[in-house]
């Protein structure tokens, strides 16, 4: 508990430019130096260890077991409980079920009832646990003293300090000069903050999101009249065109879209897959799943989009009419296509298909190029959707996404502009980190320095909070009460899955305490419950009971009730005599004990009762808000019953909300997020095609490095730098998590580093090799990054992942390279400032190197049959069949009961790596750090490899044919690992698993050497879980020690649990009852697990498909994992 404080006190200064280049020290690296030990030291430690062992043999090793003082009838010690909550890792708001083992949250799974994600989670959602148990979280309030050092202080003192500051702001009469910059909170907390700000006569809050989709909102305002982010539904689309929208990674609601995309595009889900065309200068993970890739010139999206829209309109015999105030381009579609360097017939074909295959969906650019030009692209895309009749079918402007209420970037910039001029007296930071996200040129740091008092509710140190004066750490979302509405008419409820790990306090409690302290009245906290403004007057439908994801949820006796932290630690009455350290916190749970004491006498469940007349803490506030809205005027018992049902399900769906939300909801979003001032002036789509520009656009061959025409982006360098959002770190907020750092980027397969992508064909003539440090110069600054040679981007483009380059964000995130923010400018254009993650940069190779930890260096399959594909026409024919081999001198394994098997559909797999994160969480897989990963000593039991085409079907630019293939242990029948083990640690079980008995393993590594799939992992080092990360461990899985081989077990603990339950209930196992962690979380349901012996099981049916094959069948291993070939519309020919 102490270490985070110590670390903050001695936090290293921000690394200077190029510290990455000089090979900065690793903040977290258990492997570093572990293997260095000289012979003498070894002998010494041997002697000591021997003596220690002899002594230990004599001791009795007393271990304590603690009973409950008062038992919790809703829980059985040793049995996991699941609590429904909401994932708050990004603004999508997916439903989540937290598995809790004896008071410790151990695994995040999707909530099957939630209409967005239907039980699935992405990589970042899976990593929520590492946010909860993050060792760098604040252990309590902190105050910065006069010398700029952080001093720990008590909650009473911290709150007194805050109250004093609020009083002095009031005295100075500068209430209007304060500001609240917070995350996107649109539920009870948002309402409470609004009421509190109003009561203090502070200006309204700004909901800060780094990705605020300003361009899309501006375009929607022009097309639909409302600056909202429309809802999208991919499932009904018969043709899909995306001009860069990374909807399978970070864009708006990626789990929901991945599910819908699979339903529409994967041959595993539909016999008539729809085509997907991706257009953009860089092939991202979303584009990697496309059937057709238009590699555009950087900045040419508007041109290509215009050409597509114009040609489609022509085919429909209509005029492409532009909204009022938009200056239509004064050139033809043909010229636009030529300038975008997309063959005209390709665009014509797409237009033809758009018209023929309806409904369709056309999406604009993603966040990666959300700049002025993107407004035009989005506008054209929305117009095109309107013209094709997609509005109301695949595009729903009346179902706005919650992000529509986010602050405009111009508002945030304006706030810090005022701060730089000394116009901000008091700033509240609630999980907002603009100093990291926004370009250095935006002057956020300078603005923060000028603010006299900054209060941060951050959970851990970040680049913005480091300028704060007072830190009042908030609970993690998994410890908090709350609610979140991803769109009007759909809300999820957060409830604490466990007691707070650190001495933190919910922000809502602090505000309620402040209101009482200053004798202010807040509407929701008063004795008269108000009608909740967020909800329609009639009660909604709590999504129906789902079939047994957890029996507990359906049992009223064990309805989801968390640790209720805010109930155990009530808000203080006054700073002088606060009721602070709760009795619960006073009883420490002893080390190693699974049982915890409960401090309170039996009492009626507070959730059953109506909240008291005047609420004093946030969970009461939330409950009253919802109870009065869910069942207005109902009897208290009825309200309590409905509330408990809501708690158990975690989702609330308004009646008919999906079809048509009321205009009031749209209007309320509009009111909360005013349009930027000034008229909407759209920039010209492309400078080379400005109406005044005479003559045709100058030709620019693909490998010409300087733009032949005038610079399209600010700056004068020969490369266009493109920043793209990260599937692992979102905007950087998940960077301080071991799992997110160690799971590699799905395309580059690089972990633990930031790097700049450069096209191979450009790099080689310049003598740039993988890992060479490139210095990038923009008009705003310079930064250095190691180079990564890639093929999926335009030669004139350099690409950087957003999210790395933290200066002060904890041990996993710090010193991971330079910050791309140094290179960007921040300019206001046309009344709306748009981030514009693109800029012209010059690149220069320095005489320095930094080797990158790349977990998959080879991208070609050569003549090996690893990830196979089949053309759509052949998918179910004999042409799809691969030969099989089953030759043995010996008898086959009999398998008396079951033979567990897995089927992976490559046409569904989108390469998102959610399965890998789930595997890390479920199986106690340690994070090994960068230097271990450099030696390929990462411990992931499951990896997702990516290959570009195969030897017969090489990738082309138009059809990159990227194939993702998740590779767990193949659980071979004729396993090469088994017969080389000298100690029988690797052996074949009766149910077909390649068992690995850890306590028998002596670490010869013969099995790994003999494994042809390379899925076995050896513990070269003692695994490290910096406290309290160790609390996340799954108690059903052994923790492996140094010197032991480990591997995927098909989640044998889940198999055993299910078999045990079935046996006790005297029933056969149901197909689908056992879900390994990877299968459970896969957003596209690419993974199916089951009993191969049962011919009616799904896995057995899938194995009989024509396109089923076994990897490396010729090696005669008879794996239990079969793959279904990726189905492509057409395959490239040699």
């Amino acid at each position: 508990m102490k270490s985070p404080l110590i670390q903050i006190a001695s936090a290293p200064p921000a690394p200077a430019a190029g510290s990455a280049a000089s090979g900065g020290q690793e903040a977290f690296d258990p492997a570093a130096g572990a293997g260095v030990q000289n012979r003498r030291g070894f002998l010494k430690s041997l002697g000591l260890a021997g003596a220690g062992a002899a002594l230990a043999g004599c001791g009795t090793g007393q271990v304590e077991v603690l009973p409950y003082v008062v038992p919790d009838a809703r829980r059985t010690p040793g049995e996991p409980v699941r609590f429904a909550t909401v994932c708050r890792e990004c603004p999508a708001g997916c439903g989540m079920l937290m598995r809790v083992h004896d008071g410790r949250a151990t695994k995040a799974e999707g909530n099957p009832d939630h209409p967005l994600n239907r039980g699935k989670l992405c990589l970042r959602g899976q990593s929520a646990l590492q946010g909860l148990y993050n060792p760098d979280r604040f252990a309590g309030p902190l105050l910065r003293d006069a010398r700029g050092r952080w001093q720990s202080l008590s909650w009473e003192a911290a709150l007194a300090r805050l109250a004093q500051e609020i009083s002095s702001v009031e005295r100075e009469g500068r209430a209007a000069e304060s500001a609240w910059l917070g995350g996107l909170e649109n539920g009870a907390l948002g309402a409470l903050v609004d009421d509190w700000l109003r009561a203090n006569r502070y200006p309204p809050r700004l909901s800060y999101e780094a990705y605020s989709y300003d361009a899309l909102r501006l375009a929607a305002a022009a097309v639909f009249g409302q600056p909202v982010i429309p809802g999208f539904d991919f499932a009904p689309a018969r043709y899909l065109v995306a001009f860069g929208a990374e909807f399978l990674e970070t864009w708006l609601s990626n789990v929901e879209y991945a599910r819908q995309f699979a339903a529409m595009h994967s041959y595993g889900h539909t016999r008539h897959p729809a085509r997907f065309v991706f257009a953009g200068p860089r092939l991202n993970l979303t584009g990697a799943n496309a059937d057709e890739n238009w590699q555009l010139e950087p900045g040419a999206e508007p041109l290509a989009m215009f050409a597509l829209a114009e040609l489609t309109a022509r085919r429909l015999h209509r005029r492409l009419d532009w909204p009022a105030g938009v200056q239509p381009p004064a050139f033809s579609a043909e010229r636009a296509a030529a300038a975008a360097r997309v063959p005209l017939d390709v665009i014509r074909r797409a237009a033809r298909r758009l018209v023929r295959h309806r409904p369709s969906l056309v999406l604009g650019p993603g966040v990666a190029n959300d700049d002025e030009q993107a407004v035009f692209t989005h506008l054209a895309a929305l117009r095109l959707n309107q013209m094709l009749g997609n509005v109301g079918v695949t595009v729903f402007p009346d179902r706005p996404h919650a992000l529509s209420a986010a602050a405009w970037q111009s508002q945030v910039l304006d706030l810090f502009g005022r701060a730089r001029r000394g116009g901000v007296r008091l700033l509240f930071l609630h999980h907002a980190n603009p100093a990291f996200h926004l370009p250095a040129a935006a002057g956020i740091r300078a603005g923060l320095e000028r603010i006299p008092f900054i209060v941060s509710f951050a959970r851990q140190m970040d680049e913005t909070t480091q300028s704060a004066h007072l830190i009042l750490p908030d609970h993690d979302p998994l410890e908090s009460w709350g609610d979140y509405a991803p769109r009007p008419g759909l809300a999820g409820l957060l409830q604490p899955a466990m007691r707070p790990v650190f001495d933190t306090r919910p922000t809502g409690d602090i505000l309620l305490w402040l209101a009482r302290h200053f004798r202010q009245s807040l509407p929701g906290a008063e004795p008269q419950p108000p009608v909740a403004s967020m909800l329609p007057p009639s009660a909604g439908v709590i999504a129906g009971a789902h079939p047994g994801a957890s029996g507990e949820l359906n049992d009223p006796a064990t309805l989801g009730l968390g640790g209720h932290p805010s109930r155990l630690a009530p808000a203080p009455e006054s700073p002088a005599s606060p009721n602070l350290p709760s009795s619960a916190a006073a009883i420490p749970a002893p080390e190693g004990s699974n049982l915890r004491s409960s401090p309170n006498l039996p009492q009626p469940d507070p959730d059953d009762a109506l909240p008291p007349a005047a609420v004093t803490n946030f969970d009461q506030y939330l409950r009253r808000r919802w109870q009065s809205a869910l069942a207005p005027g109902a009897a208290p018992e009825e309200q309590a019953r409905i509330w408990r049902r809501f708690l158990a399900q975690g989702v609330w769906v308004a009646p008919g909300a999906a079809a048509s939300p009321s205009p009031r909801q749209v209007a309320s979003i509009r009111a909360s997020s005013p349009m930027p001032a000034g008229p909407l002036v759209l920039p010209l789509p492309h400078p080379t095609l400005a109406p005044a520009a005479p003559g045709p656009p100058p030709p620019a061959p693909p490998l010409r490095l300087a733009p032949a025409g005038p610079a399209k982006f600010r700056g004068s360098g020969r490369f266009t730098l493109l920043l793209y959002p990260s599937i692992r770190f979102f905007d950087g907020r998940q960077a301080n998590r071991g799992w997110c750092q160690e799971i590699p980027d799905p395309l580059s397969k690089i972990c633990w580093d930031s790097y700049v992508e450069i096209h191979t064909a450009v790099a080689q003539p310049l003598g740039i090799r993988e890992g060479d440090i490139l210095r990038l110069d923009s008009p705003y600054g310079a930064a250095e990054f190691p180079a990564h040679l890639a093929n999926g981007l335009h030669p004139a483009v350099l690409a950087l992942e957003i999210g790395q380059g933290h200066a002060n964000f904890g041990r996993f995130a710090n010193q991971r390279g330079d910050s791309p923010g140094k290179l960007l400018g921040a300019q206001l254009a046309g009344g709306a400032w748009l981030p514009g993650f693109q800029i012209q940069v010059a690149a220069r190779r320095l005489e320095k190197r930094r080797n990158l930890a790349n977990l998959q260096i080879e991208r070609q399959q050569w003549d090996k049959k690893i990830a196979l594909a089949v053309a759509l026409a052949d998918a179910d024919t004999a042409a799809a069949r691969e030969p099989e081999m089953r030759a043995t001198w010996y008898s086959f394994h009999p398998y008396p009961h079951h033979r567990w098997a897995m089927s992976v559909d490559l046409s569904s797999c989108i390469g998102c790596n959610a399965c890998v994160a789930a595997c890390y969480a479920e199986n106690n897989i340690p994070v090994m750090g960068r230097s271990a990963c450099m030696s390929h000593r990462e411990m992931a039991w499951l990896r997702v490899e990516v290959y570009a085409g195969d030897s017969r079907h090489p990738p082309t630019r138009m059809n990159p044919d990227l194939r993702f293939i998740p590779i767990p242990c193949q659980q071979c029948d004729n396993a090469p690992c088994e017969y080389v083990c000298p100690v029988f640690a690797a052996y074949h079980t009766d149910e077909g698993l390649n068992g690995q008995v850890y306590n028998r393993c002596i670490g010869t590594r013969y099995c790994s050497n003999n494994c042809i799939y390379k899925v076995r992992r050896f513990n070269w080092f003692t695994p490290q879980w910096p406290a309290p990360l160790d609390q996340q461990m799954n108690p059903d899985v052994s923790v492996r020690a140094k010197g032991v081989m480990e591997k995927c077990t098909f989640c044998v603990q889940r198999i055993e649990r299910a078999e045990r339950s079935a046996k006790i209930d005297r029933r056969p196992l149901r197909d689908g009852e056992i879900q390994p962690a990877c299968m459970q979380t896969c957003p596209t349901q690419a993974i199916v697990f089951g009993d191969q012996k049962d011919s009616r099981s799904r896995v057995a049916q899938l194995q009989r498909r024509a396109r089923s094959y076994h990897m490396f069948y010729e090696e005669n291993c008879f794996p239990a994992v079969n793959y279904l070939k990726r189905v492509k519309f057409e395959l490239n020919s040699t």
Binding site: T60, V63, E64, L66, P67, P599, L993, S1038, V1052
Partner: protein, 168 residues
């Protein structure tokens, strides 16, 4: 030959110490650890309490579970409340602190054991825990090594797969 004698004596001593440690390590009938309260299973069982009256999670969980303080106190509020050992219990209850019982039965970390299937298939508690009803201070009477588990599993025809039964 003084040094030789002393070396021999030392050797004998070492051997004796080694044998004693070896004996102590391997004999199952060790006296159990001293508990914070001199709780007697014998007294409670003789009064007719069934095992799962106190260890009530045995049918539902991996663990058999220990009785909560509330359960102890609900009887001992009336039953011999002034008995010195029960007074200790009352002291814990007043402080609302759990009793730090010393663990008697312990399996290594690499063994995954669950009480639930064993009780469900009708194995008596005494099979593994001995005649607890005759013990005052609880002690381990059955040596929990793999041969104990395997002998029984074979006799009952239960699963004996190393990996899928215990060691995963």
């Amino acid at each position: 030959m003084f040094p030789l004698k002393s070396i021999a004596a030392l050797g004998v001593l070492l051997m004796a110490a080694f044998l004693w440690i070896f004996y102590r390590q391997n004999q199952p009938y060790r006296s159990g650890p001293r508990q914070p309260i001199d709780f007697s299973h014998r007294v409670h069982v003789r009064r007719g309490l069934a095992c799962d009256y106190c260890h009530q999670d045995v049918m539902r969980s991996n663990y058999a579970g220990l009785p909560s303080l509330l359960k102890c106190i609900s009887c001992h509020r009336e039953v011999i409340p002034y008995y010195p050992q029960v007074q200790i219990l009352h002291a814990y209850w007043r402080k609302q602190r759990p009793i730090p019982w010393r663990r008697v039965y312990r399996l290594p970390d690499y063994v995954h054991f669950s009480h639930r299937p064993h009780i469900a298939s009708g194995i008596a508690c005494q099979t593994c825990h001995g005649n607890v009803g005759a013990m005052n201070r609880l002690r381990q009477v059955v040596n929990f090594n793999m041969s104990t588990c395997l002998t029984c599993h074979r006799a009952y025809g239960a699963k004996t797969d190393c990996f899928q039964t215990c060691h995963h």
